[in-house]
């Protein structure tokens, strides 16, 4: 099990830290956002979304992906402060 293994392997990492990281990963799931970007394109190509809707959603998702990348970069460089 992921949480247990992680805590056993890295005993110095507090449970709050681990849970916080997991929560951030879920909130800023780059793969899910990229999938939604592709779906937006597909629905536009199939005529289910208008060009305006497509462009608006695309801009939103690209911004979210950029934020998510930034959060992940901070996570891996340890610059996200975890308060317990």
């Amino acid at each position: 099990m992921f949480i247990l293994d992680d805590l056993l392997v890295r005993p110095f990492v507090g449970i709050v830290d681990t849970l916080h990281t997991m929560a951030l990963n879920e909130m800023y799931d780059i793969d899910a956002l990229e999938d939604e970007l592709k779906e937006n394109q597909l629905l536009y190509e199939l005529g289910e979304r208008s060009e305006a809707e497509y462009r608006e959603r695309k801009a939103e998702l690209e911004e979210e992906i950029e934020i998510a990348r930034d959060v992940h970069e901070r996570l891996t460089s340890g610059r996200v402060e975890v308060k317990s």
Partner: protein, 206 residues
């Protein structure tokens, strides 16, 4: 602009033509090492950003070459391969020669076609469609690969490598499937350069 942006590599005669190229260039030409010709345009960076427009230009250049002289064979590169000099590029052509030769053999005279089958929102779909598509299309295609199922709405997402001579038969088979499964939406795309069927990556060596 001494950097070279690479679209693909071919063994046929060199080309040179004017077009809207990636990164604002207006001319596409070839940089050659022995019998390998890299199709390039000039660019001011070695790390181009993949905008929708430039991704489209990359595809358009490859298609233009594929349509030349009754159908040329080009090993396509993914978007973003750029080298700081002709010399750096030629070194890579030299090093990757066997890989390019193999890839050219695999895709000679062939094109890539894409098929996505999409269900209506909230509709249930019988698995039988996957089998039906495979039964009709796989015998015509030389090869096929599954693609990322990035949406719950996707029932099937596949790329097919098809001989140019079999293109018509493949088109007809897709139309038949569309007629038969009219509760599903078919997104049939291409022809593309066979990106999904070559595995030559040269960017890391620049």
């Amino acid at each position: 602009m001494t950097n070279r942006y690479v679209y693909g590599v071919m063994a046929d005669e060199p080309v040179e033509f004017e077009t809207d190229a990636v990164g604002g260039a207006d001319r596409v030409y070839t940089v050659s090492h022995r019998r390998l010709n890299a199709v390039v345009s000039d660019i001011d960076t070695t790390d181009p950003e993949e905008t929708d427009e430039d991704a489209q230009r990359h595809d358009d250049v490859l298609r233009e070459i594929m349509d030349r002289d009754g159908g040329r064979t080009i090993v396509p590169m993914q978007f973003g391969m750029a080298f700081e000099s002709d010399r750096a590029l030629k070194n890579v052509l030299r090093g990757a020669r066997p890989a390019f030769r193999r890839a050219m053999n695999d895709i000679d005279g062939r094109i890539e076609l894409g098929l996505k089958v999409v269900r209506e929102e909230d509709a249930d779909v019988d698995d039988v469609i996957e089998e039906a598509v495979a039964d009709r299309l796989e015998p015509i295609a030389a090869q096929s690969v599954p693609n990322d199922m990035f949406s719950d709405r996707l029932v099937l997402n596949r790329s097919y490598l098809v001989d140019r001579d079999d293109r018509e038969a493949f088109d007809e088979a897709v139309v038949d499937l569309e007629d038969e499964y009219d509760d599903l939406m078919f997104r049939y795309t291409g022809p593309f350069a066979p990106y999904s069927f070559v595995d030559v990556k040269i960017g890391a060596q620049r």
